[in-house]
Amino acid sequence: MTALLNILAIGLLLGGIYALVSLGLNLIFGVIRIVNFAQGEFVMLGMYGALSASLAMGMDPYLSPVVVMPAMFILGCIVYRFILRPLQGEPMMQIFATFGLLMVIENGILGLTGGIGQNVSSFISSVSVRIGPIQIGLPRILVLVLASVATAALWWCLRYTLRGKAIRAVAQDRKAARLMGIDVEQIFMLSFGLGAAFAGLAGCLLAPLYTLSPQIGMNFIMPAFAVVVLGGLGSVPGAFVGGIIVGLTEALSGFYLDPALKHAVLFMVFIIVLVLRPAGLFGVSGAEEVGLREQS
């Protein structure tokens, strides 16, 4: 019983990590429908951003989003404006461009750091909390809590602010949105910028958990796609629940089956869900095609 509780807790916390990483991708893939290979690299940049803030200003990684998120927002806007927007209507070329971007960012950081693993520590790094029979590291709990808060905040913004409503409108039907007088281009740029900023946030919060390497972004990208598609494109609560599902699947199969097989199980489940319900668990059926049909 304790073992089960323990592993469920671990799965939940891992789900928090996935939910956090997927927030940004959900905006980019869900709204603009760009398969952004470089999203994991944005998370990695966020991590190195937290590292730089800590090295340069002695800033705690949990404070660093204040600096990192705006920087990543600007980077996202630049990337969208100069690389992805010119390729609108050519989704395959966009995939290809984000792949080029991935190579540049990953190897740029490799060149800058020489590939030496880096660590960012916070004052709570090594605190471990005991809840009943379960023992958990405080940084992980913090990730889950902050992922929930960020999800709620994003959900609220999309739901109740004018810009948020515009983003949702574009995600649902960009042609109709344009007809309603929404500046679709601007919304795309905003979404991409926000997507990058949220990746930056994820990077900052995850930095204390990992040893940073230029390749770490790659580890996040595939599960993040799984989360976004599972949850339902463009659905903010969906991505959160998708994250938790992926986290639990991974932890349970790792513990009860074999850690070496957990990726196989995870992605098998993902493929099955995808085939049975392409719209994702929380997406509106058929929504996965809207916006793909019309790229202009």
């Binding site: 010119p86 989704p91 395959m92 792949f99 080029g100 196989a264």
Partner: protein
């Protein structure tokens, strides 16, 4: 892919001469193919003594062949698979397995490799073909991850993480040569076969059906095309050719482990990328793409690789982004654009 993307790719080729296969007959195409091979042969002859370049050419031809194989389902059929490394790996493992365990010459082991890859591709594609566009692409990526995990786990079949290494026993029957020229010619042969298959399919009923599905699968279905069956056949042929490429790669490198064979980026994405750069859906596009990408990659690695960690890949990444931005229809598309402009210029 989806209707939108399909349109995007042929929409801008006004004359459609390169993509309109009906205009020239198969015989003319055969002639073109022979000319293309002759040019490649001349390039090889020019670099006869230069093993460094010959090796690059061998890799180039191999990847040109792989990209051409991918182009059958990815270009003609519009199914943007990023999981072709699975079939590549099947080819490598089956060839090595038959050769090392049963003593079958790799030349003959290529056949079961191709058949197995075709069967596996049909089995896994059947459910996945329900998906469209990026969803299909992501599902095939996930498939790569599944197979990679399984390949690492089931050591008895794949040799696990340590991989397999084929002992060095030179000889034609073993498909193991000491000189790079033999490999360059071997890979050129593979390329010729894939081009022949693609050229033939492009003119066959299958090819037209695949293109109809790419352009609009619903219209195609309404027109009486069995969409799933057509896509499955296209995929099976593509996978079989991919597996042959995998088998050749295995005998060329003679050491392979799951992370190399099932590399998402070095195989799965790369074949799609080469095709896109060259010109998706065209017959010679993948070859042109490979002729640009592979030597560029090798040269960058040889000149910059040791200088500053990662610098060669930064430069390559920048070139990829620029290519995406300025060569949107691929080299074939750009060439066609220039050709049309010249013709128009003459007329007026």
């Amino acid at each position: 892919m989806t209707a939108a993307s399909g349109r995007a790719f042929d929409g801008a080729a006004p004359s459609r001469s390169l993509s309109n296969y009906g205009v020239v007959g198969f015989r003319v195409e055969l002639l073109r193919l022979i000319v293309a091979m002759a040019i490649l042969g001349l390039i090889v002859a020019f670099y006869l003594g230069d093993t460094f370049t010959l090796n690059i050419l061998a890799t180039t031809f191999l990847f040109a062949g792989l990209a051409t194989a991918w182009n059958i389902i990815g270009g003609l059929g519009g199914q943007f698979s990023l999981g072709h490394s699975v079939f590549f790996a099947i080819g490598a493992y089956v060839t090595a397995g038959f050769y090392m365990r049963l003593g079958v010459s790799p030349w003959f082991a290529l056949a079961p490799a191709a058949v197995l890859a075709a069967i596996v591709s049909a089995l896994v594609s059947f459910p996945v073909f329900r998906l469209r566009g990026p969803f299909f692409a992501i599902a095939t990526m996930a498939l790569t991850e599944v197979v990679l995990s399984l390949a690492l786990y089931f050591e008895s079949v794949t040799g696990g993480a340590r991989g397999i290494s084929v002992p060095f026993r030179r000889g034609f029957a073993n498909m193991i040569f000491t000189d790079r020229l033999s490999y360059a010619l071997l890979m050129m042969g593979f390329l010729a076969i894939t081009l022949l298959v693609l050229a033939y399919i492009a003119r066959s009923r299958l090819g037209y059906e695949l293109r109809a599905i790419r352009d609009n699968d619903r219209t195609a279905e309404a027109a009486g095309i069995n969409v799933v069956r057509t896509k499955l056949i296209g995929m099976a042929i593509s996978a079989a050719l991919m597996a042959i490429g995998g088998g050749l790669y295995m005998m060329y490198v003679r050491v392979a482990d799951p992370p190399t064979l099932l590399s998402l980026f070095d195989i799965g994405v790369k074949v799609a990328l080469i095709t896109l750069i060259g010109g998706i859906g065209t017959i010679y596009g993948p070859l042109l793409g490979a002729l640009l990408v592979v030597p560029l990659e090798s040269m960058l690695r040889a000149t910059l690789g040791g200088v500053f960690p990662g610098s060669n890949l930064v430069v390559l990444g920048i070139i990829l982004i620029l290519t995406a931005l300025y060569l949107r229809k691929g080299i074939a598309g750009a060439a066609e654009g220039i050709y049309t402009r010249i013709r128009k210029g003459r007329r007026t």
